[in-house]
């Protein structure tokens, strides 16, 4: 079995209304098993109510070397940033 084992990325939603967050990765034989292991490895202390697993090979990631062309041009366009808004009292996540 170990020759077919593959890597999965695990995303957990900790409570209703929040989004899924990447928590780590694990090895499994297939997606179903990855889901079960995610439960055992990442939710032992009641961290989540919903789990996603995605085969790591299916993720297309940006490269460090792309930083210049990807992000820097945004720096001089402050009007695109929502930084001046203040969150009302009692709202932690929007």
């Amino acid at each position: 079995m170990s020759d077919q084992i593959q890597l999965y990325e695990v995303f957990i939603r900790s409570s209703r209304g929040l989004d899924h967050k990447h928590v780590g990765s694990l090895h499994a034989d297939d997606a179903q098993q990855a889901l079960e292991y995610a439960r055992d490895v990442y939710t032992r202390r009641g961290e989540g109510i919903s789990i996603w697993v995605v085969a790591s090979k299916d993720i297309t990631a940006s490269q460090e070397s792309d930083c210049d062309s990807f992000y820097d041009p945004l720096d001089d366009k402050p009007y695109r940033h929502a930084a001046m808004y203040e969150l009302p009292e009692g709202i932690d996540s929007l």
Partner: protein
């Protein structure tokens, strides 16, 4: 240590099943085929040890005096343990451990479901917690039966061999003895014989899906409920009880 009260004997019996099963599973810690499975197996082991504690704590309350949950776990000898022989068999290879787990989980789920209806409210409460765990355990061990049975030629053969070796120990789960007769009549205990058809259905369906063959019926081996065990339980206890035997009353 001799127990007389029927309810206490029943509670401790259920605790023994859980503790010995949990200990056998815990032997895989750091030795499972890969990290994720190591953690998953350890989780199941912890579920069983936790279940044993709930039963033993109840038993200790029923006994009163100096008796605690640890008394049952660490200060009794082989003949005092009344667990199923199935639980104490050495862990064997991975296929053996998971086959044992599957055969037991397929029993444990309907058992804990039935125990939820016990007229003893404390037992019913323990069962309600255990039932949720058993549902997950069965899902996991059934999944492994499918993977191993329908996996490679070697995993199939190891799994089939394990089932053949384990089969004679399965009858004991459904055994009804004099202790149970009285407790079943008062609605406290579950009649395990009534669970056999459900169990066989689950096992037959799973083994078929896993391309495994249901072993031929053979005469069952029993004795665990009377304290008559395999040699292996002695070695298990020697390891498990060593610290408390060497340093009585030692605390963490």
């Amino acid at each position: 240590m001799k127990l007389h009260d029927p309810l206490t004997r029943y509670v401790v019996r259920l605790g023994d099943d859980a503790l010995i099963m949990g200990h056998r599973l815990s032997e895989w810690m750091s030795k499972a085929p890969f990290l994720e499975e190591d953690i998953a197996l350890s989780n199941v082991a912890l579920d069983f040890v936790g279940r044993a504690r709930l039963f033993y704590q109840y038993g200790a309350e029923l006994m009163g005096g100096e008796v605690t949950e640890n008394t049952f776990a660490y200060q009794r000898d082989v003949r005092d343990f009344t667990n199923l022989l199935l639980c104490e068999l050495p862990r064997g290879d991975f296929a053996f451990t998971l086959s044992r787990q599957f055969l037991y989980d397929a029993f444990s789920l309907p058992f804990t479901q039935a125990l939820c209806n016990s007229t003893d409210s404390r037992l019913a409460a323990i069962a309600a917690k255990a039932e949720k765990e058993s549902r997950y355990h069965l899902r996991r061990s059934r999944d492994w039966m499918l993977r191993l049975g329908d996996g490679t030629a070697e995993s199939h053969e190891r799994c089939q061999n394990a089932l053949e070796q384990l089969w004679i120990y399965t009858d004991e789960m459904f055994e009804r003895d004099a202790l149970l007769d009285g407790l079943i009549a008062s609605g406290i205990a579950v009649d395990p014989a009534s669970l056999r058809s459900t169990w066989l259905e689950t096992v037959t369906e799973t083994l078929h899906a896993a391309t495994l063959v249901l072993p031929e019926p053979q005469g069952g081996v029993t004795g665990g409920r009377k304290g008559i065990h395999t040699d292996d339980l002695g070695f298990l206890l020697a390891e498990m009880q060593f610290m408390q035997r060497a340093y009585p009353g030692l605390q963490w």
